[in-house]
Amino acid sequence: MLNKQYEAMEVKKLKELQRERLKWSLTHAYNNVPYYRQAFDKAKFNPDKFSSLDDLKHVPFLMKQTMRDNYPFGLFAVPMEKVVRIHSSSGTTGNATVVGYTKNDIEVWAEVMARTIAAAGGSEKDIIQVAYGYGLFTGGLGVHYGAEKLGATVIPISGGNTERQLMLIKDFGTTMLACTPSYAINMADYVEKKMPDYDFKKTKLKAGIFGAEPWTENMRKEIESRMGIDAYDIYGLSEVIGPGVSCECSQKSGLHVFEDHFYVEVIDPETGEVLPEGEKGEIVYTSLTKEACPVIRYRSRDITRIYRDACKCGRTLIKMEKVTGRSDDMLIIRGVNVFPMQIEAVLMEIEGTEPHYQIIVDRKGALDDVEIMVEVNEKIFTDELGALKGLAERIEQRIRSALGISAKITLVEPSTLQRSEGKAKRVIDKRQL
């Protein structure tokens, strides 16, 4: 454990710390961001009168759309000269949301990421290969700063170029890998197909911290057995800070939320009502220490439950279950929970670009039938029929291995899929359930 003072703090003390910090955060947002001032005033919420954590339920939610509406810097709470970094999420469904960091925010981010790596068994002795993308996406730089803060050796290779990734794992003696779980599987596939002499078990790789997309226990087993490592789930979202919001520990059962910096609630996505600990619902985040971009009751749309147990790792921090779904768009296909974002992740991995697609679910006889229409773009189009057909087959295969469903992939012309207000309609469910 990197920071016992906070990670193993007595729960009562932790709650008192949260209450103090929450009051600061609410006041900071109210005083410096016009949106929060208007929203709090409208809800007749006065941060000065905030006295217990329970009062937070009177504060209005922050929606993703509000972040988009305030593009680019409308929700910043400090002048630009205090902002040292900008990140932006392309968003999976529309406009970008932009976030800023002060020097102190970057320090906090590095701290929670360093704890995350330590929770997966990392220390200054480790060599960490960061195969998350560097750039506006928070994955690459988030892990990078955390690893440096921990004192580990960082290999900032960024995403892609699988052969080189594998070569460096071997040549540099990489001990930990950070990337998306689907990219880890992609590496294992690559070795199997193209590098028969390469043996993960002969490298020094011992663990991976995987995140940025939902993944299943089956994928964990697959990664662990094929690469001979321990695979840990890490979680975060750029709106809240980036990776480092929560992480798994040695127990691999639930992700500890860094509660000294982030306050979590779980709500009923329909009514907005706060649910008791242990119940499943949408997780909502409030930043406690963020200066540049405070988020107050940000609705993540991620479905999970939160609970406190006596974790063997010694952390007292609340846990959240592995996020496997979103409140907006879950599908159940032949008993398997499927989220459009999982399909999106596969398309993204194969096409290397934000895909336009539509999922059509129908019932043929007693069985659910899935068709995924994928718009062809200049980037994936090739003059060769066989290559295009191969692309469709590759997508089909990856969907089967990553999601456990078989879907028919149909390539369609660009701009043919229905869009409403510039936002693609991702799912058409024709079943009468």
Partner: protein, 143 residues
């Protein structure tokens, strides 16, 4: 010297080819030859037109996925065995034809075939060395 072929992605459904050809007609683009390779759901239309750049821009503007591909136009005697002779050249040099099709118009008494190779320059070199006439773009589409 290479000829620009346009390759166009279309769904294999009624009306789709028509939509694309309407764009070309409206732009006053003349199609000199056209062939389609298809599977059940979609196809690739390959064509040689008189104004490739204009056609490409117009199609893209209308949201079609279209890309230019360099191909070779080879002039052959219009008599038995002359295509075979060309193919012998390719196999001798281990040059694989990715696809080929015929030109609709004859040049004098000779036929024109279109060939796509992975290594177009190697194919061109082989053909020239073996005495074939590779038709220049300008002679074919007048541009």
């Amino acid at each position: 010297m290479n000829v620009t072929q346009l390759s166009l992605f279309l769904e294999n459904r009624p009306g789709h080819l028509q939509n694309a050809l309407k764009v070309l007609a409206d732009e006053g683009v003349n199609i000199m030859t056209l062939t389609i390779a298809e599977v059940a759901d979609f196809g690739i239309v390959r064509m040689i037109v008189n104004k490739p750049q204009k056609a490409l821009e117009a199609l893209r503007q209308h949201k079609f996925v279209c890309s230019p591909t360099d191909v070779l136009a080879i002039e052959l005697d219009d008599k038995p065995g002359s295509l075979l002779k060309a193919l012998e050249t390719f196999s001798k040099r281990n040059l694989n034809i990715e696809y080929m099709y015929a030109f609709t118009e004859k040049r004098g008494d000779r036929a024109v075939m279109i060939f796509k190779f992975a290594d177009i320059e190697a194919a061109k070199k082989a053909l020239l060395e073996e005495g074939f006439n590779v038709v220049k773009k300008i002679d074919l589409i007048g541009e």
